[in-house]
Amino acid sequence: MRDDELRALTGACAKCGTCRTVCTLYPERKAEISVARGKIALIDAALEGRDGNLDAVQEALSDCLLCGRCERACPNQVLVEEIIMKGRADVARKIGIPAWKQALFGKVMPSPRGRDAARAAASAAQKLFAKKIPTGSGLHYRFPEAFGLAGRTVPKLPARGFVESLKPGEAATGDVMLFVGCVFDHVFPKVGRASYESMKASGRSIAVFRDAACCGLPAMVSGDRESALRCAEENVRRLRAAEAEKIVFPCGSCLLMFKRNFFSLIPEKHPLREDAVRVSDRCEDYASFILETGVVSRLPDPPEGEKVGEIGYHDPCHLSGTLGKGAEAREVLEGAVGSGFAEMKGADLCCGYGGTFNVRDYDTSARIGENKVSLAAGGGTRRISTACSGCILQLRDMAARTDPSLEIVHIAELVAGALSRR
C-alpha cells in the first residue's frame, strides 16, 4: 500500500496520547487499538508494508465512530477523520468493498429514483416482519432477533417522501436552495417539511433541491471514495446550474460533506474544483439561516412557564464539533421554545451512531447511545432536539429501547411548531 498524501497526514501525530482522553470508544474498548494514535500506527505500518493483513487493519479502522473528538483535542491538529477515511479507502482498494455496499453507494445513493424505489421496498418489508411499538416520536418497528438485527428498532417508513409530496412546480425555483438529505426526505419527511415551511417564513423564495444525489458521506466513511466522488460531482454539477444564493442543510452530516470532505474528494487540480469551492461557500446549516434571515425574531413568544427546561439539545459531532455550529442551534431553540430549553446533561457526548459503525457493532453503538439518552432523561430532559439525520435515527432507537416516552425532534420541527402558533 502506498499513499504519500496519507503518509504526510499521519506524520503529524506525535503519539502523545491526548486522543485517549476524549475518544468515545475508548471507555468501551479500553485498548489502544481503539484510539486515533493506535489506528495511525496501524496505517503507518500498512503504508510501510510492515502489516500485510489488511483485513485486520480494515477491521481496526472500521472500529471508529468518526466523531472527531480526538481531532479537536489534538495538540498537533492531526486530521484524524481524514486519515481514517483515507485509510479505509486505501485498504478497501486492496481488499474490496462488500457487494451490498457497492450496490447501495454506487447505484442507489447517487440517484433520486433509486432511493424512492428502495424506500418503497423497505417500507413493504417492514410491515411484513417487524413488530410495532409506539414511541414519543411516532411509530417504530422492532425487528425480531432472528434477523440478526438484535432487537434494533427503526422508524415506520412513510408511503411517500417529502420531495414526492411536493406538488408539481412547488418549490421548483428560488434564491435559497434546501438540501433535504436522504433521511429527512425518505425516512422523516416531517423534518423535510418542517425545514421547508419554517424557511419560507424568512420571506425568501425557497427551492427544494429535487434531484439531489446523496451527500456521499455513507460511501466516504465506508472507504468507497469512487461512489462518494460520484455523488459529490453530481451534486456540484446540479447545484452549479441552479445558482442558488444559499444552500441550506437541516442535516449536519450532509453539510460536513459539502463544507469539508468535498475538498478531499475534489482536490486542487480537479476540473470541478472551482465549482465545488463556489458551491461549498454557499452552504450553511439550518440554524444559521433561520437566525440570519430573522425568522427567530418573528416567532411569537413561547408560552410562559410551560414545560420549563424539558427540551434539550444534542450536539451532533459533525455540526457542533467539526463545524462549530452549536451556539446557533441553541439561539434558535431559545427563540422557538423559550424557557422550555435548557442545556441537557451530556449534550456534547456522541450518540454512538457513526453510520456504518451502528451496522457493524450494534451492541456497542447501543450502549453508548443508551448511556447518552439515560443521562439526558435522568437530568429531566423529556425532549431531545438536534439537527443531524444520523443522530435522530440513533436517538429514536435508543429512546424506543430505554424510555419510549422520550421524544426526539429536529429543531426545525420546533421552529415550525412555534410558527403555527402565530
Binding site: 503519539k15 485498548a31 489502544e32 496501524l42 493483513n53 485486520a56 487493519v57
Partner: protein
C-alpha cells in the same frame, strides 16, 4: 516467545491476551516516537495475574514490560527487547478515599486527572500535575516519578506516596511503606520503587497522600525584555519568601513561537514571559499576588496582567498552553530534554542555551518550570538532515555537561529510559551506577522486568 509460552499466558488472560500484529503495533510506541514491537500484549486485572506472568517469565526467560498510557518521554514503557507488555489500563479502580486520614488507595491504571477530580469532590488535593495528566496513569507517574508545574510548591509524585504493592522481578508480591504520614521501619522500599521505571517491580496498588484543596488562586503573567530579567524576577519572588504553586518561564525562543497567536497580543519588546500562580486562603492569595506583582515590576517587567477568576486565569494560561503546539511549527521533530538547575543559575543556563543554539546553528526552544529550575530544552530538527541530527546530539550532550557543572540534574521528571541512558554516568558517576545495578539484581535477578532501560550497556540507543 514460543507457542508453549503463549498458551501458558492465554491460560492466565484468556481473551485479554493479544498476539495479533495489529494489537502489538498499538503497544510498540510511546510519546518518544520510537517503536519496538512486543511479542504479546496482556491486560491484567489484578496483582495475581501480574505475579503469575512474572513467574512464567522467570521460567521461560522473556521480558515483561509494564505500561500505563504510553505517554512517557524517555521510552520507559517501550518493549525494547520484545516480550510481553502488561498494560495496566484496565486496573483502573480507586479503591478508597479516606477523608479522615487524607489517604487514597488505588490501582495503577487510574488516570491522574481522574484521581485529582475524585478527591477534589471531597475538598482534597492530589497535587502532582504532569502536562499529560488528562491521560497518563498513576502507575506510570509512580514508575517515572512524574513532576509538573506545581512541583515548586507541592513537590513531585514521590512526595505523595506512602506505600505500594508491587510484583518484584522474582514474582514475589511485596507490600512496602505505610498508610500513615510517618514510618521509618527499615529501608525505604517505597521510594526505591518510585522512579525505578518498572525495572525493579510492577506496581499493582498505591497508597497516596492527599492534602486539603487550596480554596483560592490568582494568576499573573509578566512580560520582560530579556531572559535574564525574567530569571532574576524568579529569584526576586523567592526572596520575597513567597512560594507560588506555579512559576513558568518562557524564554525568547518560546515567546517568538507564540507571538503570532492572534488573541495573546504581547508587548512588542517582550523577550521573556513569566507566568506565576499563587494559591491558598483568599486574603493570603491577594496579598501574595500584590507582592509578586511588585517584584516583577522591580525587576523590569514591561507589563503585568493579573486574574483571580477562573475565566481570566484560563486566558492567561493560554499563552503557556499554546507553546507546545506552536513549537511543532518550528520543525517537526522534537528532542525534548528536561534538565534542572538550581534556581539561582537559571539566567546562566538560558545564556548558555542561546549561545549553544547559535554555535550549532540549531533551533532550540526553551520553556518550563522555572520555579524549581526545571527547563524543557526542545531541540527542534527537521529529521531529514543527518548533519543537523548529529549537531543536535552534540548539543544535547553539551547541555547535560553544563547542567551537571551548574549543580543540576539531567532529568527532572521524564526519567532515563533509553533516551538518557548514555548520559547517566555523567551525573551519578561509576560508583552510583554500580550500586544501582547491584540493587537491580537484588529485585530482579534474572533481568525480567523492563530490560534495556536506565543502564547504558543494555540500552538500545536509537534516536
Amino acid at each position: 516467545m514460543n507457542e508453549k509460552v503463549i498458551s501458558a499466558l492465554r491460560e492466565i488472560y484468556g481473551e485479554r491476551l493479544k498476539t495479533s500484529l495489529e494489537d502489538r503495533i498499538c503497544y510498540s510506541y510511546d510519546a518518544t516516537g520510537k517503536e519496538f514491537l512486543p511479542d504479546a500484549v496482556a491486560y491484567p486485572l489484578n496483582a495475581e495475574e501480574v505475579r503469575r506472568t512474572v513467574l512464567l517469565a522467570n521460567e521461560h526467560r522473556f521480558p515483561v514490560v509494564p505500561r500505563g498510557a504510553g505517554s512517557g518521554f524517555s521510552g520507559g514503557s517501550l518493549p525494547v527487547r520484545g516480550g510481553v507488555v502488561l498494560s495496566t489500563e484496565r486496573m483502573d479502580r480507586i479503591l478508597s478515599i479516606d477523608t479522615e486520614n487524607l489517604v487514597a488507595v488505588l490501582e495503577p491504571g487510574v488516570v491522574t486527572e481522574t484521581l485529582k477530580e475524585e478527591v477534589k469532590k471531597k475538598g482534597l488535593f492530589y497535587p502532582p500535575d504532569p502536562a499529560s495528566l488528562k491521560f497518563c496513569t498513576i502507575g506510570g507517574n509512580l514508575a517515572e516519578c512524574a513532576g509538573g508545574m506545581c512541583a515548586v510548591k507541592y513537590g513531585v509524585t514521590r512526595d505523595y506516596v506512602l506505600g505500594l504493592e508491587a510484583v518484584l522481578g522474582t514474582g514475589e508480591l511485596v507490600r512496602t511503606g505505610v498508610s500513615t504520614v510517618k514510618g521509618v521501619v527499615g529501608y525505604d522500599l517505597t521510594r526505591m520503587l518510585v522512579g525505578s521505571e518498572g525495572t525493579l517491580g510492577i506496581i499493582t496498588r498505591a497508597t497516596l497522600r492527599l492534602v486539603p484543596l487550596p480554596e483560592f488562586a490568582a494568576t499573573l503573567l509578566a512580560f520582560f525584555p530579556t531572559n535574564e530579567m525574567g530569571a532574576k524576577a524568579v529569584a526576586g519572588i523567592v526572596e520575597e519568601r513567597i512560594t507560588p504553586c506555579a512559576m513558568e518561564l518562557m524564554d525568547r525562543t518560546a515567546v517568538d513561537c507564540v507571538r503570532q497567536s492572534a488573541d495573546l497580543s504581547l508587548p512588542d519588546e517582550t523577550g521573556c514571559a513569566l507566568l506565576i500562580e499563587v494559591d491558598g486562603q483568599e486574603a493570603t492569595v491577594a496579598r501574595e499576588a500584590d507582592r509578586v506583582e511588585g517584584a516583577c515590576r522591580r525587576f523590569g517587567a514591561l507589563e503585568v496582567r493579573r486574574a483571580a477568576d477562573a475565566a481570566g486565569r484560563d486566558k492567561l494560561w493560554a499563552l503557556r498552553r499554546s507553546i507546545s503546539p506552536a513549537v511543532r511549527k518550528v520543525n517537526p521533530v522534537k528532542i525534548n530534554e528536561d534538565i534542572v538547575v538550581p534556581r539561582s543559575r537559571l539566567a546562566e543556563m538560558f545564556a548558555f542555551l542561546s549561545g549553544l543554539a547559535e554555535r550549532k546553528s540549531l533551533k532550540i526552544v526553551n520553556f518550563g518550570h522555572a520555579g524549581d529550575g526545571n527547563i524543557h530544552v526542545n531541540v527542534m530538527i527537521s529529521g531529514k538532515d543527518e548533519d543537523e541530527r548529529r549537531r543536535a546530539e552534540e548539543a544535547v550532550e553539551e547541555v547535560f555537561r553544563k547542567t551537571v557543572e551548574l549543580g543540576g540534574t539531567i532529568s527532572g521528571e521524564h526519567g532515563i529510559g533509553i533516551a538518557k541512558a548514555p548520559y547517566m554516568e555523567m551525573e551519578v558517576g561509576p560508583l552510583g551506577v554500580s550500586v544501582m545495578k547491584r540493587l537491580k539484581s537484588c529485585f530482579d535477578p534474572n533481568g525480567i522486568l523492563n530490560p534495556g532501560k536506565i543502564f547504558l550497556e543494555e540500552a538500545a540507543v536509537r534516536r
